[in-house]
Amino acid sequence: MQISTEILIRLHLCLSVAVFLPAVDYTKFSHSTQKHQAACSTCHRIPTKEWSRTSTFPDVTDYPGHDACVSCHRPQFFRGARPPICSVCHSKTSPRDDVRFTFRNPASKQQFTIEFPHDKHQDVIAQLRFAHPPQNYNNCTICHASRTVTFKAAPTDHASCFNCHWKSQQPVAENCNGCHKLASAPYVRAELPSRISSKFMHEGGGEKKQHVAECTTCHINITKAASLRGLKPDVPITACTECHNKEGLRQDLSKELVAIDKNRAFVCVYCHANNVGSLDPPASHYLIAERPPLKRKEIK
């Protein structure tokens, strides 16, 4: 059998490519691939066709249709009985089963960050419902409803965004990039922000429920936060000690500092869990108690 020079050259090229280029893993979809960076609406429909099946409001509730992939990935689509590319969206790679993962797949890493300027929203949505009791006063609860008696929840979907940002108020629903920016690398979003005073209860504060106040009474930095980056629990100790360390009222902080004086291994438990309560109290705590700061190791 005679092999033509052209076939030999093609074979050589194919082998070279196979040796020098890393094999593409088609089971992993990345938005950072250059060809996947077209306008979002190239692949995603907003809202998706049958949004009402899984959502109470118009939303992107499903993966893009096959057309979005086939236009470029025809060879990968029709490769073997179980093409690896199918597993990006489908839980079973079989032509007889079209079951898909939940959209978006909770097991996959996040590829986009979320931009949310609290400062602008505080201005625009500022609610002034004088006729209602204080707990209904502020607008934070539009997005941050109670999750447990202790903590508030953060939005997990578009429900609290689209009722304003649907089609007229930028960034509108089709302008995904207005809020979602491609991250430098896939990441796993932290489930919860770190809690320092984990025993605080938003619904607490004794019989009068004095903790039920306007959010910005304690979260003093939130009205100036222009993005979610670097957002941190911003409650100063003074927000607590206005009541919890006041002469003639309560001395919850001072008492624990005195307890440390007597036993440097004492764990502060009134506000903190063991992991935080066993650390050195910060200088701000001593300042409130009108004492010079101390380290546990300095106590004999």
Binding site: F57, R129, K167, S168, E214, T216, I220, P236, T238
Partner: protein
């Protein structure tokens, strides 16, 4: 000789690394504002809720151009803006009831989208939303998506453009802003020690007048404002450190 150079290099690397590892602890201070106002002399002082204040680095003298621009800016009241943009009397009243600057201020209840108490703009947007979403509840909750942009957030955008223009005046550093809470309290944190100008930049509507605050404040390093707050008011009373200048509301061309 080579050994000496090597150790010198090693020492330099160690110093550089040590410097990078220890963040320089910049002493900062806190400014706790308490803004209490009277719309009328017959009324008691009350906290000025939900108003934004700005902290501009430098003295009043250093920010003279900015302060002059603040004082000379043309003023438009909320009611006047909405009248000029053809808002119905019902919408203007709805905004006034909640002291709202935009329709995002509070939920739009059923009574305002249908029936005799309906606000015309809301009723039209509600009808459009019903067609679009096919669900009465979503149509009501999302009706702002079908409102005329000028009535939707035009007043807010107008204010923002005034602010942006004002802030383009030469300033000496980063300007911070905060919004007061229900009691009229707000905090500026992580402030470098020095002199600042505290201003609301855009006059605040209060009863029949508009109030402008432009005051010089000192921030000391390590001052966490745990004791007395910085009191602001439109009345010269005891302990008030910053008294606002009141002007009558301007006449509206649409009246």
């Amino acid at each position: 000789m080579r050994l000496v150079i090597f150790f010198a290099f090693l020492l330099m690397v160690t110093v550089v690394l040590a410097q990078n590892q220890e963040p320089s602890a910049r002493p900062t201070g806190v400014l706790r504002l308490r803004v209490r106002v009277k719309a009328d002399d017959s009324l008691p002082l009350r906290g000025l809720a939900r108003k934004r204040f700005f902290l501009i680095p430098g003295t009043l003298e250093q920010n003279r151009a900015l302060v002059a621009a603040i004082e000379q800016q043309p003023l438009t009241t909320r009611d006047c803006y909405y009248k000029q943009h053809g808002a119905s009397a019902a919408l203007i009243n709805w905004l006034k009831e909640g002291d709202c600057e935009s329709v995002y201020c509070r939920s739009i209840e059923k009574e305002f989208v249908t029936g005799s108490t309906a606000v015309p703009e809301f009723a039209i947007a509600f009808a459009k939303s019903q067609k679009e979403f096919g669900n009465e509840e979503i149509a009501r909750e999302w009706l702002t998506t079908n409102l005329n942009p000028d009535l939707l957030d035009g007043f807010y955008r107008d204010r923002q453009s005034v602010l942006t223009a004002l802030l383009k005046q030469g300033t000496l550093g980063m300007i911070q802003s905060v919004m007061t809470d229900r009691n009229g309290t707000a905090y500026f944190t992580d402030l470098g020690p020095g002199t600042y100008v505290l201003s609301n930049l855009i006059p605040t509507e209060l009863g029949q007048s508009m109030v402008m605050w432009n005051c010089e404040v000192q921030v000391k390093a390590g001052d966490l404002a745990t004791e007395k707050p910085y009191l602001m008011s439109n009345r010269k009373e005891k302990n008030v450190k910053c008294v606002g200048v009141e002007k009558p509301k301007p006449v509206c061309a649409a009246d």
